[in-house]
Symmetry: C2
């Protein structure tokens, strides 16, 4: 029962050559979505026929991209013989304005049937995950399709074997670094705790010990500062890969990153829909974190997993379940993993926002008496666990080694070497005694007296973000009271710094709706359940 091969009748022969339009760059930044602009009266293609379909394929010079089509009625934006592309799409296609381009309806991505099976609740195999992840990595999925995949994989919908397949596919569809050394250590936090800038302490300590630690730092996505945003206060962070690799070889570490987009590229795409939905299911978190680290060439990873009422993980049984899943997949992927459960009841340190966090970090490195002790202790603990990856270090000795490196000033020396190698930011070194903070300030005060019994990580992060962090380096929140500390009515709880009046106003309004603090009695302070 063969499929009949249709033959065309000779009468009015279809035009066979490709129809072309001239490419135009449209200066609109569509935020991670390719958009093509076609004039409604385009003479070559009927704009309306295309628009009903979800995506078009744009081809030029042997290259092709997918884009969402917008129909334009203003020839000054795009003329009838032109095809406009938004900034991202233009960059991705990579040909000059005026170049001839052709468009057609986009074929559905190959993996669509596997996606539909996952939506229907079926278990997928290795090849199906590979096919889906390949389409995602090459931006062939629409936001709708991406969201469907993410939601269908949410909850307990992925068994641990599937999480392994997903992780493996995410590594396989991107670049993978090889540092040509047997031991490459890294640390990572599952996130959610503002001010948790331990990487900028751990890397100089561990590198000073001699372990290779090419920290794959990133910019903030939904938080008020990522390691890259904060390090940028001190040094250049966007370096060509070759320069970066040279710094890693010479100094055993770095705090810069230019090329994470090539490592597990599907991860960045999936994150763009997971974040707005606050989806952070165990399977997706494990695949996201481990794929990036494995692609970056790490052999040993210390994972910081904070627990607390407003942290990502809210109970010890949940933490143990998540730890086992991380360990299973890491083992299958031949990554040595050490999960450290930490105190996630409140932000770490006192500053939230790039400059404020850089001040906290430099105070710790300088052994300044004003240095936040919680940040110092946590960094030492994590650095100690990383140092224990060294076969010459006895289990239990890491913490003391790390403390010695920090107290002796060797960590500060190494940090200054990294700053010099990456390129100092500005003319003069960062003055951690007098950093340039946002010129506009609001203090948020306690309305009653008592003891700080709760600090909402999420709300504090949100206020810092509204104030302008991380784009405005000097913006953010400085915490003046931490958990368990007494406060009197009218005394300040924290300060909001901003550079722009509209930012300050948005942050102030948010803090007026919910300050993020609760004032109660010392009995109300939640207990901490962490491993030591």
């Amino acid at each position: 029962m063969p499929d009949s091969a249709p033959t065309s009748a000779p009468s009015p022969a279809p035009h066979n050559g490709e129809r072309h339009l001239a490419l135009r760059r449209v200066a609109i930044d569509t935020w991670h979505e390719n958009v093509a602009y076609l004039h409604r009266d385009c003479e070559v293609y009927r704009a309306e026929g295309f628009q009903a379909l979800s995506k078009v394929e744009v081809r030029a010079n042997g290259r092709r991209i997918l884009a969402t089509l917008n129909v334009v009625d203003d020839a000054s934006i795009v003329a009838c013989q032109q095809l406009g592309l938004s900034e991202d799409a233009f960059r991705q296609l990579g040909v000059e304005p005026g170049h001839l381009v052709a468009i057609s309806q986009a074929e559905r991505p190959e993996s669509m049937s596997a996606l539909f099976r996952k939506i229907a609740g079926e278990r997928l195999g290795r090849d199906e995950f590979l096919s889906i992840v390949r389409d995602i990595a090459s931006l062939r999925y629409s936001k709708i399709e991406l969201t469907a995949f993410v939601v269908a994989c949410n909850r307990s919908e992925l068994d641990r074997e599937e999480v392994y397949f997903l992780t493996e596919a995410m590594v396989a569809t991107g670049r993978r670094l090889d540092w040509k050394e047997p031991l490459v250590v890294d640390k990572h936090c599952i996130g959610g705790i503002p001010g948790n800038r331990t990487s900028m302490l751990v890397v100089p300590i561990v590198a000073a010990h001699g372990l290779l630690c090419p920290k794959t730092s990133s910019r903030a996505i939904t938080s008020p500062a990522g390691t890259a945003d904060t390090m940028e206060v001190l040094a250049r962070v966007e370096l060509p890969f070759d320069q970066l690799a040279g710094i890693v070889r010479e100094h055993r570490g770095c705090l810069a990153w230019g090329g994470t987009a090539d490592l597990s590229p599907a991860d960045d795409v999936l994150i763009s829909v997971e974040r707005p939905l606050s989806i952070d299911s165990p399977g997706q978190m494990v695949a996201s974190i481990l794929s990036k680290k494995i692609a970056a060439g790490s052999t040993h990873l210390v994972l910081d997993m904070p627990i607390g009422p407003t942290a990502k993980v809210r109970s010890m049984p949940e933490a143990q379940r998540l730890r086992r899943l991380f360990e299973y997949v890491a083992h299958r992927m031949h990554l040595s993993l050490d999960v450290v459960i930490t105190d996630g009841r409140q932000p770490i340190g006192s500053g939230i926002g790039p400059v404020l966090e850089a001040r906290d970090v430099m105070r710790v490195l300088q052994n300044d008496p004003d240095a936040p002790n919680d940040l110092r202790q946590k960094a030492l603990r994590l650095a100690g666990r990383m140092i224990e990856a060294d076969p010459d270090v006895r289990g239990g000795d890491g913490f003391a080694i790390a403390r010695d490196i920090l107290d002796s000033g060797r960590a500060l020396v190494r940090m200054n070497a990294l700053i010099a190698a990456q390129g100092m930011q500005g003319e003069r070194a960062f003055d951690h005694q007098h950093p340039a903070l946002g010129a506009l300030v609001v203090e948020v005060c306690a309305s009653n007296s008592g003891v700080v019994s709760s600090i909402d990580n999420y709300q504090i992060a949100r206020i810092a973000r509204l104030a302008g962090a991380p784009k405005v380096k000097a913006a953010g929140v400085e915490l003046l009271r931490k958990l368990g500390e007494p406060v009197r009515a009218g005394e300040p709880l924290y300060r909001i710094y901003a550079d722009y009046p509209s930012d300050l106003e948005f942050a102030r309004q948010a803090s007026a709706r919910a300050s993020g603090y609760l004032i109660g009695t010392s009995g109300d302070v939640p207990q901490v359940f962490v491993e030591f």
Copy 2:
């Protein structure tokens, strides 16, 4: 343990008045998504700070809309003191260009916590469905949030009580018509069968019998023609509601609709993400169909449920399960429902596309010997079941009454009256003997001899759509062979009609990849399992 009410320190007081921009209409049609355009160097707002968040709220004159923000670097599109809005967004805000507007970060929709609970697999109550549907109906959900809701409700995730809550919420958040009559009949097909234009026969028959039948017809979304698209070949279909209600009162029916968007508005929004994912889960289908019909004021509904290998429902047990769910929800909503299971193995009639389908319909009404018998028989069966809603008609008599109305020409008279009342399309009546079909034609032929053993509803619909239907009325597919008919190699199976060379070429390429026909033996033709 009260939440502390923060107080602002007096020092640099935030600017308190609203910051304003001048509204500009940007002639870009963003296809059902509101987009706001802000210049990167806007003096009032920092574009980049906003862009990191997903949506902004635009306010003017007491009205407010939500929009996705695009950042612009070209002052000829939007200048530094302006805020641009895409066509849809501009219309929705409803103020004049140049009017002062203010923007702020959009607050998350109220129902977000209920959405997150559904994503996490929990069962939701009546109030939670109402809150989600209210936010969806007022366009407060992003595409990502909508997709998450749809996928989370997919499969057996909704129990039948939840389907009832969803249906009820969809009715409650829109307009509801009241025809002030005890009996208002309607029919609906669950979809998926090209050429299935029975409404244009059923309405004149049932209205001629005297029952009130204000058919809520719609335009095609993913199919090559909806009832409104096909009726538009004959008459005007977009009428102000008052005129339409007058026609219904005078002629007992109509085949036009201007106002379906107000009826269950959440349905249209949900469909915009369900269609690209081919999601048509039982719960969503039931809520979608029943909410529209109940909002349109129907008291009795005959539901056409086709079964076939390429229909939406592919087996009798599946059809029975779906029927029970429809009946449960209809009963809770006090709608009298009659489900009719029909033959969905292939398209109905010979024409697919507005003009071709209008020809089939008019041939049946004219009792033309070339009229497709499958369309005639199916329309009579459905009309008969509707007529049996009349308490004066004995069960089993409906078919004969319908046949009599059709054979006697009374249905044609009623159709002509409806055409005249709605306003004839063009100067002269539609000539069903010589309709104006697409000027460009391709015939698709059989590659081997045998019997037509399968026609793929989906592929035929896709080819008709690529040829330009429904936007190009004269475009589409004319089937020359139906299931079980013999064909010799080289003989044509169907003709593709188009008006534009690029459309014809896209349709031809799709049919070359898969014609949609299988030629086998008479034993290969699937059997039909339908109720009579």
